[in-house]
């Protein structure tokens, strides 16, 4: 579905002819298809973000010995939708002294940064909007735009706490950006390509071929550095220094309300899912299944896995039965069936979403467990721990690569 050529060609075509009668040709159709695909992707990202918000609230609730949202829909699954509607109906307050154009532009920009990067994310071998041959570079470039939006928001608010948030964000982007980029390099070295499809393709053949388990112990370390840096990039605890609720009130989005505020919110979750998706793509074999074929013992591991799954489900359902929690049983049943269905019909999508989901859960788990770092500690960690570690990784992986080849 690589159609960037088509768009360029169409523009050239219109420019040269100034005649719109020629517009309904193959090029236009390609363009229209791109627009439709873009809208579909936007819808997907929004829904994905909403589900993520709900998941966060449920996970947070259960970690904290409570239930989380329970009122809107079954176990609150429509809560995000209700909140979205509420925020849309709220007054969109723009402070008098704010820089109005920048203030309005900032939230869409932050969201755009997260959303645009989805264009190259390979959900499966075919479900990818554009397989750019510089995919990794594109993601790095586009996601770093988000910080511009954050600084814009903080500056345009013309208020002191948001300004602090913006300044912190600006100070941090140079800190986590370096280890983030450096931790991607070993992957590129192993794959010899910047295209995400090729990176995934290179990890085919089972779990042991994932980049995570190459060049031991260097690639796991690279993954760790990448994951920690992505936490910082998405403003997540323990690095939510730019919004730091207890210090800066709300950080850069203190002055925002209504739909603009919710855009920041959705952007954060889209960016989180994106980071998880990129981590899964770069290190965990992307959409490829973790088959055990390469272990040389075809049946046994798979049999054991099935057995474990069966026992787990049996245990869950009997416990539901004993406690008469049929609604939960139903939930698990639907979830299991949906998972199985997805697995059988779109195995690539299933594995991609599973891996992303697991990483996402780790992010949530960290958020609801850890306190926040101070900004100088965070910078110390990025510059003096992660960056040298990433360099050592790079060196180690390249040496390993030379030795292996």
């Amino acid at each position: 579905m690589n159609d960037s050529y088509g768009v360029r060609h169409l523009q050239k075509h219109i420019w040269e002819n100034h005649a719109f009668s020629h517009i309904f040709n193959a090029d236009f159709l390609g363009f229209a298809l791109m627009v439709i695909a873009g809208v579909a992707l936007l819808t997907f990202v929004l829904v994905y973000g909403m589900v993520a918000v709900w998941a966060e609230r449920k996970v947070a609730g259960h970690i904290q010995d409570r239930l989380g949202p329970m009122r809107v829909g079954w176990h609150g699954w429509l809560q995000s939708l209700a909140d979205g509607v509420k925020l849309m109906l709220k007054e969109d307050i723009i402070p008098t002294m704010a820089d109005k154009p920048l203030f309005i532009l900032a939230p869409p920009l932050v969201f755009l940064a997260a959303f645009t990067a989805y264009a190259v994310l390979p959900f499966s071998s075919r479900a990818q909007l554009a397989d750019l041959d510089i995919g990794v570079l594109y993601i790095t470039a586009v996601t770093s735009l988000g910080v511009v939006g954050i600084i814009m928001a903080g500056w345009a608010s013309n208020s002191k706490w948001p300004l602090y948030g913006a300044m912190r964000s600006a100070a941090l982007v140079v800190s986590y950006g370096v280890p983030l980029g450096l931790s991607m390099l070993p992957v590129l070295m192993l794959s010899g390509s910047l295209s995400l499809q090729e990176i995934v393709g290179n990890q085919g053949g089972g779990i042991l071929h994932w980049n995570l388990f190459q060049a031991l112990p260097f690639m796991p370390l690279a993954f760790l550095v990448f994951f920690i840096s992505s936490l910082a990039e998405t403003n997540r605890v323990p690095f939510d220094i730019a919004e730091a609720e207890s210090e800066l009130v709300g950080g850069y989005h203190t002055e925002y309300s209504g739909i603009n505020f919710s855009l920041f919110f959705i952007a954060e979750y889209s960016a989180m899912l994106l980071s998880c998706g990129v981590a899964a793509t770069l290190f965990l074999g992307g959409y490829l299944p973790p088959a055990f074929r390469t272990l040389g013992m075809m049946g046994l591991p798979r049999l054991l896995a099935w057995l474990a799954l069966g026992l787990f489900l049996l245990w869950r359902f009997t416990s539901f039965w004993e406690r008469r929690q049929f609604s939960e049983a139903l939930f698990f049943a639907v979830l299991t069936l949906a998972g199985l269905l997805l697995w059988r019909t779109f195995p690539h999508l299933f594995w991609f979403l599973t891996k992303t989901g697991v990483l996402f859960l780790v992010m949530l788990w960290l958020r609801w467990t850890l306190p926040r770092l101070r900004i100088d500690q965070m910078m110390y960690m990025c510059w003096k721990v992660l960056t040298p570690l990433a360099f050592v990784n790079l060196l180690g992986t390249s040496l390993w690569w030379m030795w292996a080849n």
């Binding site: 904290q64 409570r66 609720e245 467990t369 306190p371 926040r372 500690q377």
Partner: protein, 376 residues
Amino acid sequence: MTSSREFRSQEIYVNMGPQHPSTHGVLRLMLRTDGEIVSDVAPMIGYLHRCAEKYGESGTYQMMIPYTDRMDYLAGMNCNWAYCLAVEKLGNVVVPERAEYIRILVGELNRIASHLIAFGTYGLDLGAFTPFFYALDEREKILDLFEMVCGARLTYSYFRIGGVAADLPEGWVKRCHEFIDFFRKRIDEFNELLTYNYIFIRRTANIGVIPANMAVDYGCTGPVLRGSGMRRDTRVDEPYGLYPRLRFHIPIGMGEKGSVGDCWDRYMVRIREMEQSCDIIKQVLKSMPEKGDVRAKVPKAFKPPKGEVYVRSESSKGELGFYLISDGTDRPYRVKARSPSLSNLCVLPAISDGMMIADLVATLGSLDIVMGEIDR
């Protein structure tokens, strides 16, 4: 912080509060900051001033008790107790033994409840949300116990001059036992979750160090003073009630993770005090008489003889004292409360020079102030 002084840029003034997530109520801090570095802090108080002392002077002695609930609203029982102690000393009232034991029970339970809030909100201040919910979960159980005793969950007014309002209801002792046994294990869980967390230690150790002499100079009391390594506790130094009969330990800050008197020490003193309170409650439950009066005979028109008295007691925040002057009528001539939170807050500007904003929040949280008590 000398290096940051050399590169000083334009300083700005920021209002932290009175509406700010981590100023614990309506405290307003005027900050002069140079980027992230705070160069001056000026606490502005009075947003919660309700003339509690004046009210006390306009009513009878009994009528002040509900106002004391609202002073340190996180430790209402302790405030009740402090006031009643002063009035009893003024009027030479002897409290029955069982009432004294009940007072210790609810007082120590309230100390745990107050320290739980301190623990939970301290986590919030540092960006950890979950400890707050864990703490509130346990606090709810204490409030349930209080509800059984007096029907209220926050403003108890359970104490009376010469005793307490009512005897413990049936089954209360058993539930209290259950709670204490369960809670001791929960403290270990709290420690695992927050206390020994690496990030938490990095955020609190060596931050906001209050040297012992400074703590004394500023009149700090309670966990703040003990966190600086001073083994001072009114329950032991100037015992009241039946505390001399009980054996307990006074935890002090020892600079385990940083230097003596840092935020971690103050925090840890509270955690250890919760353990000690559990021990005290266990001892009381064991040695309490089964039956007995819970209220001395005090006339409704209670008129203590002329005189003045200052009585201090150990509330969860520190030394809570009441100064009363009686002119022989049924109304006090003067009521003055010496609230520990006020003195503890006063030390903040002295130690916050050159701190980062995040550290200021950590230090403020470790002082555990309650605005209701500061403004009264």
